[in-house]
């Protein structure tokens, strides 16, 4: 498997800054916004986006973490990924405009599960989506409002996002699978 780097640490940083501006621009301000990262790597990305917004707007937005394990549509993954990482939403969702943040958008199933989860917690006014990488191959009618980088991929490839908070470095790379998947794994 040969890895091909597609974003450096600096590129990631710039993308985060740009996304944070786009979010504020779309909302015409920061009123009512909350940033919720999807476990696992969406969480540090959400924190960074909120940090960037605080830097240029001077407002500290509420940040949450969402675990969609119990909302997946494919229960057979439990055996491989049984660990639940936890949901933490320390604010009132009702009437809020939630920006969901994830590292990679692929089939869209994770986002669908995330929306179902959020709605069980309350009734947001709106839900938007920000992703670092959009790799195509959507299986549901889901699109991101804010994208760090569009990367066309084939199903035999894996997109690996590394963030310093979890992996010790910031990088996005593509690697080839050892064998082609039968279905797209929901975690991507």
């Amino acid at each position: 498997m040969t890895d091909r780097q597609i974003m450096t640490g600096d590129e990631i940083r710039r993308a985060i800054v740009r996304i944070s501006h786009e979010i504020v621009e779309k909302q015409a301000g920061t009123q009512g916004l909350a940033i919720v990262g999807i476990q696992r790597r969406g969480v540090p990305l959400a924190t960074r986006i909120a940090g960037a917004i605080e830097e240029h707007e001077g407002v500290r937005l509420p940040v949450g973490a969402l675990d969609i394990t119990f909302y997946r549509d494919d229960l057979s993954l439990v055996a491989q990924q049984p660990i639940v990482k936890g949901t933490d939403l320390p604010f009132d969702l009702n009437g809020a405009t939630i920006v969901l943040v994830d590292d990679v958008l692929y089939t869209g199933r994770t986002i669908r599960a995330a929306m179902d989860a959020l709605i069980d917690f309350g009734r947001p006014r709106a839900i938007r989506l920000a992703v670092l990488i959009d790799r195509g191959h959507r299986e549901l009618p889901i699109r991101a409002d804010h994208v760090g980088k569009n990367v066309p991929t084939s199903r035999e490839e894996i997109v690996q996002v590394h963030v310093a908070e979890i992996d010790g470095l910031d990088e996005v790379s593509i690697a080839r699978r050892l064998r082609a998947p039968e279905t797209a794994p929901a975690a991507d």
């Binding site: 973490a65 675990d67 394990t69 119990f70 909302y71 997946r72 229960l75 057979s76 993954l77 439990v78 055996a79 491989q80 990924q81 049984p82 660990i83 639940v84 990482k85 936890g86 949901t87 933490d88 939403l89 320390p90 179902d116 989860a117 069980d120 917690f121 309350g122 979890i166």
Partner: protein, 350 residues
């Protein structure tokens, strides 16, 4: 609100154990490793968070059928399992023997085959004969979750007991903590399953009761005394209630049934209470902050004094809440497992 690490699990999010879940059935804790128990505790923690939400449901088992088949009347346990299943959005079917053709002499095998044909995917079985869930697992194509079989095992009870103890013990670690289980040990599947889980947790376990109700347990303790089983330490068996309770961190009472008197095992319930009841005086031997537990239903006034059952140290109601969360965790893990346990390799391998 909660954060991802907690005292009850003792496992921070970044230190997630690598265990995956391989068991197609959960019948006894003898085949469950400690990392798997940690996984169950972790998942239970999350299920408790779900129970704390305004909408106490998640769609994880949407469209799956959970069937409870109870050969022993037990409203509390059955409702606990059914609540757990509904909280996971599963469809629930309840079969209890008083109302079914089982009373007309239909065999367990035939009943299970019928239920499977009617769409049962996860079978929660409670039965009065030890070993019945293994027979069920042989013939049932889905998952078997043991809700208690004879005197043999009650894994969900032991797991909720463990979870409850860790919630209340500082640091959530039972290593070296003294746990005393008092009552009719001989006939208790709760005691047997707790032996497996508590020795795996490293607790200092004491089983206590009258000699007639401890028969055979010394043989078991003796077999394990030399450290025969990796991952499970020794435990103590005694009819000396003071020795069992002294400095205990956890005291668990077990129900004494009236029929033990008529079968010649006890002179009278009065005598049992006089010598073994968990009352305030005996409880003063335990640590001041020791918790009091009971799997229920209780015979207040027999094995446990009413004031002890309702005292501030009693966590009996926590056990009930935790029971739903543990059962949610297990239904979730079993439903998502793809494992070949108990598949006979050849005819008659069982």
């Amino acid at each position: 609100m909660t954060t991802v690490a907690s005292a009850a699990t003792g496992v921070p999010a970044t230190g997630i154990p690598a265990a995956a879940w391989h068991h197609r059935h959960l019948i006894d804790l003898d085949v469950v490793t400690w990392p798997e128990i940690e996984l169950i505790m972790r998942t239970t923690e999350e299920m408790k968070h779900v129970l704390a939400r305004p909408i106490r449901k998640v769609p994880a088992l949407n469209g799956r059928r959970v069937t409870t088949l109870f050969y022993e009347a037990s409203t509390r346990t059955r409702v606990s399992f059914e609540t757990a299943a509904r909280n996971l959005s599963a469809d629930v079917v309840s079969v209890s023997t008083a109302t079914s053709s089982v009373t007309k002499g239909e065999s367990l095998v035939d009943t299970i085959r019928t239920l499977e044909a009617l769409g049962a995917e996860i079978l929660v079985l409670r039965h009065s004969v030890s070993g019945a869930p293994y027979l069920a697992a042989e013939i049932f194509g889905g998952h078997v979750l043991n809700g208690g079989d004879g005197w043999h095992a009650h894994p969900t009870q032991a797991l909720l007991d463990l979870y409850t103890m860790r919630e209340h013990i500082p640091g959530g670690d039972l290593h070296g903590r003294k746990v005393a289980i008092v009552g009719d040990i001989l006939h208790s599947r709760v005691a047997r399953s707790n032996i497996w889980s508590l020795t795996a947790a490293g607790a200092d376990l004491w089983l206590c009761g009258p000699a007639t109700l401890l028969r055979g347990m010394d043989r078991w303790a003796g077999a394990w005394a030399g450290g025969a089983i990796p991952g499970h330490g020794r435990f103590n068996v005694t009819s000396d209630i003071d020795a069992a309770l002294r400095d205990a961190d956890v005291v668990m009472g077990l129900r004494i049934q009236r029929e033990r008197m008529s079968s010649g095992l006890l002179p009278s319930l009065r005598e049992y209470s006089a010598r073994f009841q968990l009352n305030a005086e005996r409880m003063s031997l335990a640590k001041p902050d020791a918790i009091v537990m009971h799997p229920g239903p209780m015979n207040e006034g027999v094995e446990i004094a009413p004031d002890v059952a309702t005292s501030g140290r009693s966590v009996i109601t926590d056990q009930v809440t935790n029971g739903v969360a543990v059962r949610m965790a297990l239904l979730y893990l079993l439903a998502g497992s793809h494992d070949a346990a108990y598949e006979p390799a050849h005819e008659g391998a069982r």
